[in-house]
């Protein structure tokens, strides 16, 4: 879809039109994933592209700047956050699946590195599953985690996207974090 089309969708989303989210989401997902891969191919392995840059780039590519103000941008970022959650979790799951079945033999330095990585990806999958559970209690807490953690959005951007105050976002974040921690501790060595 072309730039005006996507921009139009975003504006309609802001107006609360039904079904627009479902149209917009796959577009942003595809774009982000494509961007991630395209960009990475030019990076040297030790340079990590920040995620904020990535979303920003997607935004610049997909949205006509002249028609959108700051608040609308937050809506886009909110969708992008959700997409990033999915991209990362898909990755983590696959990684876990790939590594399963290896026998635990002599542990070497390399093994420990792999082990550490595996832990992080497991933890991510754990967070994802816990979030699904949390969404039955309070959907907004989940959105806050998505935007702040998966989407790297600031408190203000998150507040704007959700249409609540910044202090509410802060409180939500603390509660969600505590709730996730309680769900996951014991399963992972957190921190």
């Amino acid at each position: 879809m072309d730039k005006p089309g996507v921009t139009q969708l975003l504006l309609r989303l802001k107006d609360g039109e039904e079904g627009v989210y479902d149209q917009l989401y796959p577009l942003v997902y595809k774009e982000l994933k494509g961007l991630a891969y395209a960009q990475m191919s030019h990076q040297s392995p030790d340079h990590t592209l920040s995620r904020t840059e990535l979303v920003h780039e997607a935004y610049l590519k997909m949205i006509d700047q002249t028609r959108i103000d700051f608040n609308d941008k937050s809506h886009f970022f909110a969708i992008a956050s959700r997409c990033m959650r999915q991209i990362l979790i898909d990755y983590a799951r696959k990684k876990n699946a790939d590594k399963r079945g290896g026998s635990e033999k002599d542990v070497t330095y390399i093994d420990q590195l792999f082990h550490a990585q595996k832990e992080k990806s497991r933890e991510l999958v754990g967070i994802d599953e816990a979030l699904d559970k949390l969404s039955e209690l309070n959907e907004r807490l989940v959105k806050v985690v998505e935007m702040k953690f998966f989407g790297n959005m600031t408190i203000d951007q998150t507040a704007s996207a959700l249409g609540v105050s910044s202090s509410t976002v802060k409180r939500d974040w603390i509660k969600a974090r505590g709730w996730l921690y309680r769900e996951l501790k014991g399963r992972f060595e957190i921190k």
């Binding site: 990590t48 592209l49 033999k105 390399i110 990806s121 921690y181 957190i190």
Partner: protein, 916 residues
């Protein structure tokens, strides 16, 4: 948390967070008004909030690795970096000489020495250097480095590049692909055969060293300027194949095969064996000899190509060649040789390069080739050896060919007068079949491969049924089912499937889905699926058959019994032993109710029940059932019969498990004689007998005999199944066991490792059959002092056995006993103690009184106590052990001597510690 009001939780938490910490408890107390659940929820959430301070605040930590990985993948997808002039090992990369799905091949030079040395370097860009891959890679390298043959490009070295990609350095070969060479040099058929024999010799050498190529094709078989062949990439595709599971994005390389040369089992992603390589060579040879391959694969979709490989029987090369005058040369022997290499079922092909070589040499010398002979013997043997339905089905075919006379009154599934019938008919069939195969038979003028003709005959029969019987549905269905059974008996599984499926469809239409005829065909399909080891599929068929039968005849009918018995076998084959026993018992009571207990079928069922009980460790019942069956068979059959030999073998096994080795020996020797009488000295059945005898002699203390039988077994399986087969893995394992008993620990360890490696190639990583090789390797590693690896292995064994047999099975007790011993030796006394505690219940509850395994368990407990300075307890354990051993073994048995020595040691230690 079902009835918890989450909104309230959040509200109170929000408010509490506003308060100073010391005031929160009172606040919550007051808000919750005695609602303990609510209070608990709020308190733990607040605790978690303070504990998790800072957690998840830096998402980058989580994301970095994933971006890193994406970046790596992208790098792999991209066209590749320029490696020219890069240093790899001590070589400098000069130019790229090839590129494949997995990576690229470079020409590299080492000029540091006085003379220049040119090598080919293959850099594998697929997949990361993960832990598993690196270990595999190291192992494979050792194998490949040991491969020294003039016909195989020499492997020099391997390693991992700076950015983590495995690479291989090998001999650089300047040559052209074999097909191109033949075209260019315009050599004649005899010269081509000579050249091809060199290829086979090289492949034979690799196979003998347990390396399978997996991707043989003209592009990998080069001929250099001296006219010498060199095979590239031996064993390398295996390395790559496993790595392709790791790769996340590249689907393109996920299945590494060159369709034109891929064997059916590769298309189906089943076990790869030496026969797979020989299939590929069959195609190569076909192309060289006939000028084009057996199939037209141009302009076909990948799916169509796969179907052709799986389904289409190759035309004879003589029928396909366009080369003038070539057809006559190929006709006959060479046709047969080439088609034998291309059979769909690996076990029907050449399994050893030697067999292929011999046939080509025989052809050159005008001697008969094996592809033309022996197959009938093999087939006929299979025909008559098979169960009753098989023989009956052949009669069906016979009648069909003679002209469908007198068939109306006869039903194949009836087992009435089975034995007499079998004896009479077998002779007739044999004569008839032999006349069919007589070369002087004018009807057979077009016939070129005997075994192929049997198949063709059945398939023609199927066609005839289709053409002539379609308006007589009852006959039609009956005949299709018979032909299906017969095809299944000669391992024409695809065609058998077709016939049975057609019969099923027609029967459902004609008799209805809920008819006993349909149910019978479903039972046939279940049996057929057992043959091809599709147990789940079989279960579906037999369950449907059972449902139909009980709808029509009720829950307690006579006809239900056979089907329940098939279902029981199905459960046994799927390792559900408890369920299997329950079902066998149901069938048993039905047979008793309907007075069907005087048939061989009933006793086959009883013996199967016995075997199930054997697996369940219920030895007494198993023995009763075996003996009952054996008594019946010996009265029933006039001469030796497979049922007799098999039951004797089972009794041997039973007595072995019960540590009654003398009795075991007697039965096993009887069974061995029986099988030899029935099938001759080279039969796969003998393998189990040899193995069991070896183990029995070992436990009787006759180590030479034990070693002798283990060797016989290894020789047999190597000859019959090749040295990469699972059967050979089993033999190696057995041989290693005997070597260990003789004190050759290193040799034993090597054979165990080799055996485990083969097992792992043949079985999934969670397959219960892996327990045995893992246990044995753990055992010898313990003796060699490698406790950590030993413990890791035994841990897996315990897991596997518990899952397969239940947590309190005698086998699990034996596993735990070993685990305890390993932990004791490694100095982990507390862990050992708890493992022994778990084992105790099993040993005292599940083993027969005074079983020597209990003695072994006591010895291990004694050793642990001795190490922990509990001298009195230790002495008690050793005394009990000696008592038990004395009832099992002669005085000079090493177990007794060992336990005595320990007892002395602990008593002395007790005295000296008392003196201090």
């Amino acid at each position: 948390m079902g009835d918890l009001d989450w909104n309230r939780v959040e509200t109170i938490v929000d408010q509490a967070l506003e308060l100073p910490e010391e005031e929160r408890a009172t606040f919550i107390e007051q808000k919750c008004q005695g609602d303990e659940q609510l209070k608990g929820e709020i308190t733990t959430l607040l605790e978690s909030i303070s504990c998790s301070e800072g957690w998840l605040e830096n998402p980058k930590n989580y994301q970095r690795e994933f971006y890193q990985e994406i970046a790596d993948d992208v790098e792999l997808l991209s066209s590749g970096r320029n490696l020219i002039d890069t240093q790899v090992g001590s070589y400098l990369i000069k130019e790229k000489i090839g590129e494949g799905g997995m990576g690229a091949v470079y020409l590299a030079e080492r000029s540091a020495d006085e003379f220049e040395h040119r090598v080919a370097i293959k850099i594998i860009r697929q997949g990361q250097a993960s832990k598993e891959n690196l270990q595999r890679f190291k192992r494979e390298q050792q194998i490949l480095a040991g491969l020294n043959h003039p016909g195989i490009a020499q492997f020099y070295d391997g390693g991992v590049t700076v950015d983590g990609f495995p690479y291989i350095i090998m001999e650089y070969v300047d040559g052209v692909p074999i097909d191109e060479y033949c075209r260019r040099s315009n050599i004649d058929l005899d010269e081509k055969i000579e050249l091809f024999k060199k290829v086979l010799e090289a492949v034979r050498y690799a196979h003998e060293n347990l390396v399978i190529h997996r991707d043989l094709k003209p592009g990998n078989i080069l001929v250099n300027s001296d006219g010498k062949i060199k095979i590239l990439d031996f064993g390398i595709s295996k390395l790559l194949e496993s790595e392709s599971h790791e790769s996340s994005l590249t689907l393109t390389g996920a299945r590494l095969l060159t369709p034109r040369y891929a064997a059916p089992e590769q298309v189906k992603q089943q076990n790869i064996t030496t026969a797979t390589d020989l299939y590929a060579l069959g195609i190569v040879f076909y192309e060289l000899a006939a000028g084009s391959g057996p199939y037209d694969l141009e302009n076909q979709s990948p799916y169509e190509i796969e179907q052709i490989i799986l389904e289409t029987n190759p035309k004879k090369p003589s029928a396909r060649t366009q080369i003038p005058g070539r057809s006559q040369k190929l006709y006959g022997d060479l046709d047969a040789v080439i088609l034998k290499a291309l059979r769909k079922q690996p076990e029907n092909r050449y399994r050893l390069a030697n067999e292929f070589l011999d046939d080509l040499s025989n052809y050159q010398q005008g001697l008969p080739v094996s592809a033309q002979e022996g197959t009938f013997q093999y087939r006929a043997h299979k025909f008559f050896k098979r169960h009753k339905q098989g023989a009956a089905a052949v009669v069906g075919i016979l009648l069909l060919i003679i002209g469908l006379t007198g068939f109306y009154t006869w039903r194949i599934t009836e087992e009435r007068n089975q034995a007499q019938f079998e004896a009479e008919r077998a002779q007739q069939i044999k004569e008839f079949m032999l006349s069919m195969f007589d070369r002087s038979n004018p009807d057979m003028a077009n016939y070129s491969g005997r075994e192929q003709s049997t198949t063709e005959m059945l398939i023609a029969g199927m066609q005839k049924v289709e053409d002539e019987l379609s308006n007589r549905p009852e006959m039609h269905i009956e005949m299709l089912a018979s032909i299906g059974d017969a095809l299944s008996n000669i391992d024409e599984f695809e065609k058998a499937d077709q016939a049975l499926t057609k019969a099923l469809i027609r029967s459902r239409k004609y008799y209805g889905a809920n008819s006993h005829q349909t149910a019978d065909i479903l039972s046939d399909l279940a049996n057929y699926n057992h043959e091809i080891q599709q147990y789940e599929e079989a279960e579906n068929y037999i369950l449907e058959a059972l449902a139909i039968d009980s709808t029509i005849n009720g829950e307690h009918s006579e006809s239900l019994s056979d089907k329940i018995s098939i279902y029981a076998s199905n459960q046994f084959l799927q390792s559900n032993y408890h369920r299997a026993r329950q079902l066998f018992l149901e069938a048993d009571s039905l047979d008793k109710v309907f007075g069907r207990t005087q048939t061989p079928g009933y006793h086959t069922m009883l013996a199967n029940l016995g075997e199930t009980e054997l697996f369940l460790g219920e030895y007494q019942q198993a023995e009763n059932h075996f003996l009952q069956a054996l008594n019946f068979y010996t009265n029933y059959y006039d001469s030796m019969h497979v049922n007799i030999a098999m039951t004797q073998y089972r009794l041997g096994m039973l007595h072995h498990y019960r540590s009654e080795y003398k009795k075991a020996e007697t039965y096993l020797l009887k069974s061995l004689d029986g099988y030899k009488t029935l099938y001759g000295a080279y039969n796969s059945q003998l393998s189990s007998n040899y193995a069991m005898l070896a183990r029995t002699y070992r436990l009787l203390g006759d180590l030479d005999q034990a070693h002798n039988y283990a060797l016989k077994d290894a020789d047999l399986t190597k000859t019959l199944f090749s040295d990469t087969s699972a059967m050979y893995a089993k033999s190696l394992n057995n041989l290693a066991m005997m070597q260990k008993a003789q004190g050759q620990l290193k040799a034993a360890k090597n054979n165990y490792e080799q055996s485990l490696l083969l097992y792992q190639q043949h079985l999934d990583s969670d397959n219960p059959d892996l327990a045995m090789p893992l246990y044995n390797l753990a055992d010898v590693l313990m003796d060699l002092g490698n406790y950590d690896r030993s413990h890791d292995l035994i841990k897996r064994v315990v897991e596997i056995d518990k899952a397969k047999l239940g947590p309190r099975h005698p086998e699990v007790g034996i596993d735990l006993n070993k685990m305890g011993a390993i932990l004791t030796k490694a100095g982990h006394f507390a862990q050992a103690d708890s493992v022994f505690a778990e084992a105790e219940g099993i040993f005292l509850g599940k083993f027969p009184e005074n079983h020597y395994r209990i003695g072994e368990y006591f010895v291990n407990c004694g050793i642990l106590n001795l190490k922990q300075q509990n001298h009195k307890e230790a002495s008690n354990y050793f005394k009990q052990a000696i008592e038990i051993f004395n009832t099992n073994f002669k005085e000079d048995n090493r177990r007794i001597a060992q336990a005595m020595a320990y007892l002395k040691k602990s008593q002395q230690a007790a005295v000296s510690s008392a003196n201090q």
